[in-house]
């Protein structure tokens, strides 16, 4: 049997294919991971430009640059692109790059389908961006696409609907790949209760994606048929209800926020132990906390709907369920802090971003618990307080964890060291301007400024000016990151196999940069908790 396999592998073992077709027809998990990461960065920049358009308009009250219609399109597409184009693909890209290296697999389980998962994204992004150019412009109903707004607008909305379908197919296939790789391709010795937290986090995330992306597909399909085929799902005239849309959407939407948070938790659970030079505190409780979020996140969706006039019992249920879900998240934060306790810490860029993550994500979590109080949310719903809240968990959470991950694994991916000075400048710059941008939004929200609005009452001016200035500086700072990456990939110092003293997972046991076909043969491993490698036998690369 083995001989048959070897002839099968022959064309495959000739090293890297070259030229454009290397990327277009890639089946190598590292190439596909790279594609994902660059794509998501491009989306981050285009979504970022839209955010800056929003902030430019909001610098002063009154309309300066954009008509309200266009403003709403920017808000909508900014949200959609950041969520589906930047954050989710970036995590999938990281999972692609790292999972096989961390668990000793030769590649992802379905390498060809992996390529398809990626290459569906550019067409979907094209549909979204092109919708600005069609009559009526892009979708302008907010990233939540609430009916009845979404059942009324022009064909930009239809393009958005089909873009969401395509992105959904992409992320479902990507998730099937992740789950099957983890369940089926772990090297001998890499047991489930020992494997890296990043693998656990992506496993649960992938399961959440498969469970809820089809529900979103259902929701936008109903929008589509309401728009063009005479159904009345979200129209009381035909026995439907706009609130039904919100239920279906948020059944997807709340797990979606964990889809953007769990992989971040996984990353932080590696960066913190490495730079604290201590094993992760409470590995088992981390696994259970992550898994319980996988269940609880399906039971809280209506905390987004407190202001819809739900029955009081329902409000109470969703309020307490939401507070309950803060418990596993609290367990995680506690464990990270306990990991650092009495550690011998150093503060390289990944560690800075990880600590920044913990502090700011906790602030975002606390404002989240505040919002979970139904009585409070009635007042704060759809205000800038909410915008502040979710940017603390998305920008300072998901995005900061991604920066931590990129700096942390950059040497393994490229074989070069990034520029540490520039990295640190990037961190402090981002940390400061992030807070300048988003902290004042808490005050704006508490004072009553609604979100998704191009104009506002005069008394909100000062804080809006501060936020806008902060946003432009924050955006500028991301060019430092881009510059650092581009220069370091070409001219960075050569990186050793294990640049971080405290790193102990499998990817640091193989050469740097990671060989194009790592673990062509499964290694035999002796593993401690969180994927720490005690001994490794075999495991060929080429």
């Amino acid at each position: 049997m083995a001989t048959v396999t070897d002839t099968q592998h022959a064309p495959h073992s000739h090293g890297k294919p070259s030229g454009l077709s290397r990327w277009l027809t890639a089946t190598n998990h590292k190439d596909i991971g790279t594609l994902y990461l660059w794509f998501s960065f491009a989306m981050f920049l285009s979504g970022g430009v839209m955010a800056l358009c929003i902030r430019a308009e909001l610098f002063h009250p009154g309309l300066q640059f954009f008509q309200p219609e266009l403003f709403n399109q920017f808000t909508t597409l900014h949200g959609l692109i950041m969520v589906f184009g930047a954050i989710m693909p970036a995590f999938t890209g990281l999972a692609n790059w790292l999972l096989p290296l961390m668990i000793g697999a030769p590649d992802m389980a379905f390498a060809r389908m992996n390529n398809w998962s990626f290459w569906l994204l550019p067409p979907a992004a094209l549909l979204l961006l092109a919708s600005f150019a069609v009559p009526g412009g892009a979708a302008a109903a907010g990233w939540t696409l609430y009916a009845p707004l979404s059942t009324q607008m022009g064909m930009g909305m239809d393009m958005t609907i089909f873009a969401i379908h395509i992105m959904g197919i992409s992320s479902i296939m990507g998730s099937i790949n992740i789950i099957v790789t983890i369940l089926n391709l772990r090297a001998p010795g890499m047991t489930l209760m020992k494997m890296p937290m990043f693998a656990w986090a992506t496993l649960i995330t992938a399961y959440l994606i498969i469970a809820v992306m089809p529900v979103l597909a259902g929701a936008v399909t109903m929008v589509l048929t309401d728009r063009h085929f005479g159904t009345h799902f979200f129209n009381a005239a035909g026995g439907g209800d706009p609130i039904l849309y919100q239920h279906v959407f948020w059944f997807f939407g709340h797990p979606e926020v964990y889809i953007m948070a769990l992989p971040a938790f996984g990353i932080i659970s590696h960066v913190i132990p490495t730079f604290a030079r201590k094993p992760l505190f409470g590995y088992t409780s981390m696994v259970y906390a992550t898994s319980s979020i996988g269940i609880l996140s399906f039971m809280v969706w209506a905390h987004h709907m407190f202001a819809t006039g739900m029955p009081a019992t329902a409000q109470l249920f969703f309020m307490y369920a939401t507070m309950l879900i803060a418990v596993p998240t609290g367990v995680k934060v506690f464990n990270w802090i306990a990991t650092m306790w009495e550690g011998s810490m150093t503060f390289e860029t990944p560690m800075l971003f990880a600590i920044g993550f913990i502090m700011l994500f906790t602030i975002g979590g606390l404002s989240g618990v505040t919002l979970s109080v139904a009585a409070v949310d009635i007042a704060l719903h759809a205000s800038y307080y909410v915008v502040a809240h979710f940017h603390y968990v998305l920008v300072a959470g998901a995005l900061f964890s991604l920066f931590a991950a990129i700096y942390y694994w950059f040497p393994k991916m490229t074989g070069k060291m990034y520029n540490e000075r520039l990295g640190k400048v990037h961190f402090w710059w981002s940390l400061i301007w992030f807070n300048v941008t988003f902290f004042p939004m808490h005050f704006l929200g508490l004072a009553g400024m609604p979100r998704r609005i191009p104009d506002y009452a005069l008394q909100f001016t000062t804080f809006n000016e501060i936020a806008s200035v902060g946003a432009f500086f924050f955006g500028l700072g991301q060019l430092i990151f881009l510059y650092n990456m581009l220069v370091s990939i070409r001219r960075g110092e050569p990186a050793p196999q294990k640049p971080w003293e405290g790193a102990d997972t499998l990817e640091w046991q193989i050469p740097t940069p990671a060989p194009y076909h790592s673990f062509a043969e499964a290694p035999e491993l002796e593993v401690a908790e969180n994927g720490a490698i005690r001994a490794m036998k075999g495991g060929k690369h080429h």
């Binding site: 064309p11 549909l127 089909f162 099937i176 089926n184 992306m213 035909g238 439907g240």
Partner: protein, 284 residues
């Protein structure tokens, strides 16, 4: 079939099919968006998209079948396929869950509420009654589809087809190729009859019952749920038919027949969805 001893895992070499598939979905997405807005080019794009998609499916599955026949897949790859198919079916379950959720919501919450005392001021003439009066703005007079006619026969057909596909599976495992082929052929036939009867039922609904997608909460949930289910039956029938063709060409043996099992799982999934439909859409 030993999975523990296998140290190699098959990783396919670079392939253009995924990219072709992406081109197809782009054409389909854009084409559909243009078509629903009555723009003529949309139809052209849709047709093009379908053509490219078919090309991709033939090419991609062709590659997979060749690899399978050349012995590239062993226990570990087989296990991956099984997990993959299982999770794919889970995603399909969740897709239907969204529409079942909508059905339960309109039946238990929105339609009754629109007819309750609090809404009398808004809609004085509307009395909520499932299935015949399901929206205060609906003037269309329609009749509901009766459960114990064609739908009951269809239930019988699908249940029987679940049995025939299992019979075919037994044939496969015991090396009785004739039983395998006959069982599959019967299953495909039953699937095709189901689709034919559903077509008749839809025709009856449109022309004689005056029931359409626009007929309020009953009409929309009826057609969306049974329609998506029908599409899945169609897909399942095609898959089973392809498996039958492969059987006739001598593919599969007692150990190596993931494609057959995947088709059978998919078929059982479609079956279970139908039972739920029969109970909650037609019967209750």
């Amino acid at each position: 079939m030993e999975t523990t001893e296998q140290t190699h895992y098959f990783v396919p070499s670079p392939s253009r099919w995924p990219l072709v598939g992406s081109a197809a979905l782009f054409c389909l997405g854009l084409g559909a968006a243009l078509t629903v807005n009555s723009l003529g080019v949309g139809k052209v794009l849709l047709a093009l998209g379908f053509a490219i998609l078919l090309w991709m499916l033939f090419g991609w599955f062709g590659d997979v079948i060749r690899e399978s026949l050349n012995g590239a897949y062993h226990g570990k790859e087989d296990m991956s396929f099984r997990w993959g198919m299982g999770w794919f079916i889970f995603s399909e379950v969740m897709f239907f869950a969204a529409f079942f959720g909508a059905l339960f919501y309109v039946r238990t919450i929105s339609v009754p509420e629109l007819g309750d005392m609090a809404h009398k001021l808004l809609y004085p003439d509307f009395t909520a009654a499932w299935p015949l009066s399901t929206g205060p703005g609906i003037t269309q007079h329609y009749e509901a589809v009766a459960a114990w006619g064609l739908p009951a026969i269809n239930t019988l057909l699908l249940l029987t087809s679940g049995a025939t596909v299992t019979w075919a599976h037994w044939g496969l495992i015991q090396g009785k190729r004739k039983q395998l082929a006959a069982g599959l052929a019967l299953t495909v036939l039953l699937g095709a009859s189901f689709l034919t009867l559903q077509f008749v039922e839809y025709h009856h609904a449109f022309t004689e019952l005056n029931l359409t997608l626009a007929a309020g909460a009953y009409g929309m949930t009826f057609f969306m749920l049974t329609g998506f289910h029908g599409l899945h039956v169609l897909l399942g029938t095609i898959i089973l038919f392809v498996v039958l063709l492969r059987v006739l060409r001598g593919h599969f043996d007692e150990h190596n027949h993931f494609a057959f099992e995947a088709a059978a799982w998919y078929w059982h999934f479609v079956d279970v969805v139908w039972l739920l439909l029969f109970v909650f859409v037609y019967w209750l």
